[in-house]
Every structure is written in structure tokens, then in C-alpha cells.
């Protein structure tokens, strides 16, 4: 079974948490680790629950998220 994929470019992410907030499935969270700029990037917690709605990519102020369906 093919899953929907959320690809977060972790070096572009500034950890603003907007994607985490808007995700209707609440399956995004912040990484424990930081990226090279000192931010905690967002990450996918539970890809199986992703509906591919792309709200995260729509709201990302850094164009750091890409979404693939199916």
C-alpha cells in the first residue's frame, strides 16, 4: 500500500510550528535535534495517518515542505 508522503527540508525549516498547528491529523512534531541554523525542524510522526491534504505545505513560510499523494 502506498502512503502519502510529507517531505520536510530540514535545513530550510525554522521551527515556526505553523505546520504542526494546522495539520488536521496532528501528526507533525518538532525534532529533538537542531539543524545547522539552530532551529528544531518539524518532522512527520505518523505517516500512515497522513491524508495528503497538504495544509502543512500550504502554510509553510519557508517553502520547506513538499507533499506526495499515493
Amino acid at each position: 500500500m502506498t502512503m502519502n508522503q510529507v517531505i520536510i527540508h530540514r535545513e530550510r525549516c525554522k521551527g515556526c510550528q505553523i505546520c504542526i498547528e494546522v495539520c488536521p491529523q496532528k501528526i507533525l512534531s518538532l525534532e529533538e535535534k537542531i539543524n545547522s541554523h539552530g532551529y528544531h525542524p518539524a518532522q512527520m510522526k505518523d505517516a500512515k495517518k497522513c491524508t495528503g491534504c497538504a495544509f502543512c505545505a500550504t502554510m509553510c513560510p519557508d517553502a520547506a515542505i513538499e507533499v506526495e499523494r499515493g
Binding site: K14, C16, I18, H37, F55, M59, P61, I65, E68
Partner: protein
């Protein structure tokens, strides 16, 4: 199948906007539209002065750096010399509604076939949070430390409504960047504004209600709610001027 991808005409450079600043969404929407219309090779952008001054680092097209407030006049000069090119400017509230009021009004009045993106976050970001002409009543800024008092500092200006009264304005819209539904409408408005230019119908402008987490003193997510609570009552969304026959997409 990719349903959301990074626009091709964005460079590899990381945006220099503050974390969570919706300038980033606005920039992305402009890039998406330029990609989808296939015009990036025939586009000249005019840079304003403010947080978006580095836009040339993010969008890969020709750019000219204009003095503060004068982007619509510089864009006029470019479009008159190169009528076939897509010409746009991307301005903040100080640039467009304070120092640049004459330039934007007259570019619209003349029906210049340019497209202006007006990022309204009711404050001056780059210079550290001073009052803007769009600062709402009661809003605290570094130059209105006790909140904007109309008796002292006047009332906010609604640029979209004002510009829509001009005959030369072909498409004037106000959208917001605070949630996915509004951002999707904003995307359509941005695209329409460019299409109006391409069709030679006249002046087009999209006012994008945005956040300034840093100077509003709010975290990015909290700032999005402040748009709904504190900005939209003064700045209602809609398409205030539409070409004949075009149905509204912004509600």
C-alpha cells in the same frame, strides 16, 4: 503524485524572513504564479525597501532595487519601456501606504499594466516595529507605546478600498495568509492579478494581510490568530474591483 512542491523559480537561498513570518507564504505564492503562468523568463521585478528588500535572492528573475515608496513609479518606467514583460513590485505598508502613497495612487489612476503585491502587517518590520499607516486603533508599537490613539495619530488607511475607486484599477483584492483556506484564496488572487496584467486590462493589486511575529511580540502560531482577531475587522477580505464578467473567488 506531487500535490505540493517547491516552486521552480525560487532559488536555493533560504528565506531571510523571521521564523513564521507570512512574507514567506506571500513570496511563495508569487513564485508559484510566475511558474504556473510560465513567464519567469520575461519578468522584471521591482524591489521595495523593507523586509522584502532581499526578494531578488529568493525569486530567480531580473530585479531593480527602487528607493523607498517609489516601486510603482520604477515599475511604470519599466513597463512603458517593455510592454510585453510581466512587471511586478512587492511592497510593505510603509513603502506603499506611507512614503509611497502618491506613487501607488497615480500608478493605479493611470491604469499602469503592472501588478503590485501589498504585504500589510500593520507595522514597520525591518526598522523595528514602528507605527504604520495601517496600524489599527489601540495597537501598541514603538512609536505608539500606549496604543494607537486616533486623536493623536489618526486612523488606519484601507488601501484596497481606496484604490478600487479609481477607474484605472482593473483588479483590487484583499486576502489573508492566516489559514489554509485563506491562503488558497490568496493564491487564486495572486494568479488573477498577473492574468489581468497579461490581458492588458489595467492596474492590479493584491493586499495580503500578514503577520509580524517579531514586532507584534507573538509566537508565529499565535500571530496567525491575531490576524483574525485584530486585523480582519479593520481589513475585510474580498475583491473590491473585478474586470467585467469575472466572478469573485475571495470571500
Amino acid at each position: 503524485m506531487k500535490v505540493a512542491a517547491r516552486p521552480k523559480c525560487l532559488t536555493q537561498q533560504q528565506f531571510s524572513y523571521c521564523p513564521g513570518c507570512t512574507h514567506g507564504i506571500g513570496t511563495r505564492l508569487v513564485a508559484e504564479a510566475l511558474d504556473e503562468l510560465g513567464v519567469i523568463e520575461n519578468t522584471v521585478g521591482v524591489l521595495a525597501v523593507g523586509c522584502s528588500v532581499m526578494l531578488y535572492k529568493f525569486i530567480d528573475c531580473d530585479f531593480i532595487q527602487a528607493p523607498h515608496g517609489r516601486a510603482p513609479a520604477v515599475a511604470t518606467g519599466v513597463k512603458r519601456a517593455l510592454p510585453q514583460q510581466t512587471v511586478f513590485a512587492y511592497q510593505g505598508d510603509g513603502d506603499l501606504a506611507a512614503i509611497g502613497t502618491a506613487e501607488i495612487v497615480h500608478a493605479a489612476a493611470r491604469g499602469e499594466k503592472i501588478t503590485i503585491f501589498f504585504v500589510n502587517n500593520a507595522i514597520y518590520g525591518m526598522t523595528g516595529g514602528q507605527m504604520a499607516p495601517t496600524t489599527v486603533e489601540g495597537q501598541v508599537t514603538t512609536t505608539t507605546p500606549t496604543g494607537r490613539d486616533p486623536a493623536l495619530a489618526g486612523y488606519p488607511i484601507q488601501m484596497a478600498e481606496m484604490l478600487a475607486t479609481l477607474e484605472g484599477s482593473a483588479y483590487i483584492a484583499r486576502v489573508a495568509l492566516n489559514n489554509p483556506k485563506n491562503v488558497r484564496q490568496a493564491k487564486r488572487a495572486v494568479q488573477r492579478a498577473f492574468e489581468v496584467q497579461q490581458a492588458g486590462l489595467g492596474f492590479s493589486l493584491v493586499e495580503l494581510i500578514s503577520t509580524c511575529p517579531t514586532n507584534w511580540g507573538a509566537k508565529p502560531v499565535e500571530a496567525l490568530s491575531l490576524i483574525e482577531e485584530q486585523m480582519l475587522p479593520t481589513y475585510p477580505l474580498g475583491e473590491f474591483k473585478l474586470p467585467e464578467g469575472m466572478k469573485a473567488v475571495v470571500r
